[in-house]
Amino acid sequence: MKAIVIGCGRVGSSIAKQLLREGWDVTAIDEREEALSRLGEHWPGTFVVGHGMDVDVLREAGVEHADAVVVATDGDNTNLVVGQVVQKRFDVGCVVVRVLDPARAKFYEERGLRTVSPTSTAIEVLTDVVRSCMVGASEEVAH
């Protein structure tokens, strides 16, 4: 199975490494050549320098045969547009897009793009932690 990870920052590079460990054929794309260093010293996958909006870069990364594409650059709108291009023009079945803004993530989710909003997740998790602290505290009071 072939995966392309667009945007090789902290998030993208970790996803690329994880997928590779799980047996995927992985290509990472980033504008900055230095981003390759995030993939470790001996990256056995492929690395393409370029922008996700550039269809030549996408083709070089093998988008035409990709089973999954993860779009995780640091720009929400870049991710949203690149995600739609990959989905609609190259017909990739599994496209996952990172969108920090929960409102935009929801809007595009409703239009058929798989979006993941780390902000929403952080809000939920942090709120849950506060709630569980309070449960612990009130139990202590009860004792």
């Binding site: 909006m53 550039d54 269809v55 720009g75 929400d76 709108n77 870049t78 949203l80 547009v81 739609q84 291009v85 609609k88 023009r89 803004d101 409102a103 935009r104 809007f107 239009r111």
Partner: protein, 220 residues
């Protein structure tokens, strides 16, 4: 008319100014706070500070009314795409116009159904083609919705069709001649129109038929 202008750079600010002068209602959105403060001196309450791809910023600027027209003219193509999609599909804005900064992104706007678009670089290139004679076939107008384009062809002395009538030409399917300009006189191209060296011919055709048309009109 109520117009929402996303992007207060040179393009957005000038559009806002001209629309206000033409008595339209205008709201400008500008992201950079230093630029916003500059604009505020001139546009006062008609300019908002914020990222026009954020829903709450658009809503604060009045997108829920909705405007008759949204102009997405920021310097970032991805932002312009998202602004147009939000305007049309979330807020039912009837008309959007988008600026394309990098002509290589034109295909993305087309793919996502964002029209009309304006790309200064492509427009300037079309003018260069028009001015520089070595381009034998010049793109004058793209009718994207109709999937047609209008081109201009210069009939040179060695053209195989010089001296031939239009009805005798074996034009490709999906291409028709519109008119012939000779000197300063122009006439509609009909079957009996005879082409001569030096003519400027306008043709309408489906994109991708340019090479076939070239072969008929230009190459012996």
């Amino acid at each position: 008319m109520y117009v929402l202008v996303a992007g207060g750079g040179k393009v957005g600010a000038n559009l806002g100014r001209l629309l206000l002068r033409a008595k339209h209602e205008v709201t400008l959105i500008e992201q950079r706070s230093d630029r916003f403060m500059q604009l505020e001196e001139e546009f006062e309450h008609a300019v908002h500070n914020g990222d026009a791809t954020e829903l709450h910023v658009l809503e604060r600027a009045g997108i829920q009314r909705p405007p008759d027209l949204v102009l997405a003219v920021t310097g970032d193509d991805e932002d312009n795409v998202v602004i147009c999609q939000l305007a049309k599909e979330k807020y039912d804005v009837p008309k959007v116009i988008a600026r394309v900064n990098d002509p290589r992104n034109q295909a993305h706007f087309d793919l996502l159904g964002i029209a009309p678009t304006v790309c200064a670089t492509s427009n300037i290139l079309a003018l260069i083609e028009h001015e520089v004679p070595e381009h034998d076939l010049i793109h004058l107008l793209e009718l994207r919705g109709e999937n047609l384009e209008i081109v201009e062809v210069h009939i040179a002395a060695d053209s195989p069709v010089a001296g031939h009538r239009v009805e005798t030409l074996r034009l490709p399917d999906g291409a028709r001649l519109i008119s012939v300009m000779r000197g300063s006189e122009s006439e509609i191209a009909v079957g009996s129109t005879e082409l001569r060296a030096g003519d400027q011919v306008l043709a309408i055709l489906q994109p991708g038929k340019e090479d076939e048309l070239r072969r008929v009109l230009l190459k012996a």
